[in-house]
């Protein structure tokens, strides 16, 4: 990939005005957002945050127990968020963190109350519309002790754009016995360059379930979130589903650090290339006992492209149990024939196997979102066979 020249992008244009009612967005934008998991009608959600280009345009909490603020507002309100802001990520890590630190456009601050079980998901959206926009956001999620929260983040770029860049810093704090489900859906454009930088820490008895879905083209995406299981019994699980068509360069993975006894980390990645390049990384470090980690990366090459799986296990103490399983290949003829023997034609059989392979069901997403994802998978199947 050619290096990204951040100077080519505009990070300084004024922020857009508030959009009080997201249903007033035009149909093309709404559709683009829906594909990124954001339902502007905001049914069955506990709150919505939307960020467009260089500023927040909508921020609303509809349920008690969860606070949703634009990060700038939150910094004013909570004395600069000293406990959380840039605590897990070094702003000098690379030019992208630097750009995000220098040009804070917004982002969300979402925090639960202690003990609050927030049943409906919070949806958030980071949207880019316009030419050569450079967007940098900083998100902070704090799930307080004994509380539960599901956040769906959709990231999207309008299609007519001549190009855009997204830098996103995310810091996750899952406190004692809290549970965060974080689902991120990327629906960028063919010419978007994307550099999220994320890290999280899970305290004793906490659970972080991270889902990632990328089914649409993107120019160049690279991310490698790191989660530290810092407290006894903490659990992290990453499920990723990625499809890279021709022109997409996707370099993703995640790192789980088992830093306390009785922690468990699991990474499951399903990748398909239909002409693009996917570098699927994974790293589990076991630094305490007992601790268990499993990495699973499976890829299908359907019509050209490259899949490069790089699973890493790093154990530093006696008694740690780490394993990995990686496979890159094609759809087994035997499986297709089995389904055909039940009356499915070749195409139905193949697409059934592909959908099973991607196995989005495992994420337990809301029905409406699941349907959008199923439809999107169906749409990308035309590139597969």
């Amino acid at each position: 990939m050619k290096p990204i020249d951040l100077k080519a992008f505009d990070f300084t244009a004024p922020a857009p005005l508030e959009i009080a009612d997201l249903t007033t967005l035009d149909e093309a934008d709404k559709n683009q957002l829906l594909m990124a998991g954001v339902d502007v009608s905001a049914e069955a959600v506990s709150g919505t945050y939307m960020h467009m280009n260089h500023g927040a345009v909508h921020c609303k909490s509809r349920q008690k127990g969860v606070e949703i603020l634009d990060i700038k507002t939150a910094m004013d309100k909570y004395d600069g968020l000293k406990e959380y802001y840039w605590k897990l990520i070094d702003p000098d890590k690379d030019e992208f963190t630097r750009a995000a630190a220098d040009n804070l456009h917004g982002g969300y601050f979402i925090r639960t109350e202690k003990g609050a079980k927030v049943t409906e998901p919070v949806q958030s959206c980071l949207f880019i519309k316009g030419d050569n926009i450079g967007q940098s956001v900083h998100n902070i999620i704090v799930v307080e002790e004994d509380s539960e929260l599901h956040i769906i983040t959709g990231c999207s770029a309008a299609h007519e754009s001549k190009g855009s860049a997204h830098m996103g810093i995310s810091e996750f704090y899952v406190k004692k016995n809290a549970k965060l489900t974080f689902t991120m859906i990327h629906n960028w454009a063919e010419n978007t360059v994307v550099r999220p930088r994320s890290a999280g820490v899970v305290e004793e008895g906490g659970v972080l379930l991270n889902n990632y879905v990328l089914l649409k083209p993107v120019s160049d995406l690279q991310m490698y979130p790191t989660i530290t299981l810092a407290g006894k019994g903490a659990v992290a699980r990453f499920n990723s589903v990625m499809v890279a068509p021709e022109g997409s360069h996707v370099d993703t993975g995640n790192r789980i650090i088992l830093a306390a006894p009785e922690t468990r980390g699991e990474t499951i990645a399903r990748t398909i290339t239909t002409g693009g390049t996917i570098i699927a990384r994974g790293h589990i470090a076991g630094n305490a006992v007992p601790a268990r980690g499993h990495l699973e990366c499976k890829g299908l090459i359907l019509g050209g492209g490259v899949i490069h799986a790089i699973p890493e296990l790093e154990a530093t103490v006696d008694g740690v149990e780490l394993s990995h399983e990686a496979a890159v290949g094609k759809i087994a003829q035997e499986e297709i024939e089995y389904l055909m023997a039940r009356g499915l034609d070749q195409e139905e059989a193949t697409s059934t196997i592909v959908r099973g392979f991607l196995n989005v069901d495992i994420m337990g997403l809301p029905a409406k979102l699941q349907k959008v994802i199923d439809d999107t998978i169906k749409e990308c199947e035309k590139d597969m066979f």
Binding site: A332, Q333, Y338, G343, Q346, T352, G356, F357
Partner: protein, 252 residues
């Protein structure tokens, strides 16, 4: 129902079936015996239409259609249903969905069918993932019950099955072969007898399945040819006493 004429089949370079002639009529169950490697499974796989089996000569007619070169799904849709001996695991596909798909758009009560073969707890599991021998058989039967085939191909219904499961499997195979309509959504006495004609082709080594079904005819496959047509029980008795070698004599 099924008529096979002078069927020659090769796998790779090797000719495995060397001129098979076989006719199976409606409501008839045909039992296939034979030593390992004689070509029995090849015959079943060829009838289902699998890719690795090349027909070099001969013809297969099924319900009035020449299916010699038909695709697997065309055969399935015409009514050939096969119970696989070692089916692959389909990750991410639940058994419930698989059964629903096998019904080909007919309305079925998946839960009721699953209950009959004791597979209720497996409906939400990935197809064949970690299934034991008996569970695979029951899962295959469940799919066939949904499929309602006119011709049941069954490769060794006994293999890997304990005695209690054998009874369940045997009885279910009998019901399948009886074309019983209780497999569909309504089940009442009036419906219990169905007009659907079903035939069967079953491979067995042990003959346990014969305890449960009415098998009319049988034959021994030996080195790619069929021989010794007789009542299946007599064939079994003969094989257990004299072995397969004796078969060569009737071939001659």
């Amino acid at each position: 129902m099924l008529s096979i004429e002078n069927l020659h089949v090769t796998i790779g370079e090797r000719e495995v079936l060397k001129g098979i002639n076989l006719e199976i009529k409606e409501n008839e169950t045909f039992i296939l015996f034979g030593p390992n490697g004689s070509g029995k499974t090849t015959l079943l796989m060829t009838l289902m239409g699998f890719g690795n089996y090349t027909i070099t000569d001969g013809r297969i007619m099924f319900r009035g259609h020449d299916i010699t070169h038909a695709t697997i799904y065309e055969r399935a849709r015409l009514g050939i249903g096969m119970s696989f001996q070692r089916p692959p695991t389909i990750h991410g596909l639940k058994l419930r969905q698989m059964v629903q798909m096998a019904a080909q758009g007919r309305e079925i009560d998946v839960d009721a069918l699953a209950k009959r073969v004791n597979m209720t707890d497996f409906l939400e599991r990935d197809v064949n993932a970690g299934f034991s021998g008996g569970e695979i058989k029951r899962s295959e039967l469940l799919q066939l019950m949904a499929q309602q085939p006119h011709m049941v191909l069954f490769d060794e219904p006994e293999s890997g099955v304990d005695l209690e499961n054998m009874k369940l499997i045997g009885n279910t195979v009998r019901e399948l072969l009886g074309g019983e309509c209780g497999m569909t959504i309504e089940r009442s006495l009036r419906m219990a007898k169905c007009s659907r004609n079903v035939a069967g082709l079953i491979i067995t080594h042990t003959g346990y399945i014969l305890e449960y079904i009415n098998a009319d005819r049988g034959q021994v496959m030996y080195e790619g040819k069929l021989c010794c047509e007789s009542n299946p029980r007599d064939i079994l008795d003969h094989i257990s006493r004299f072995g397969y070698q004796e078969c060569l004599r009737c071939l001659a």
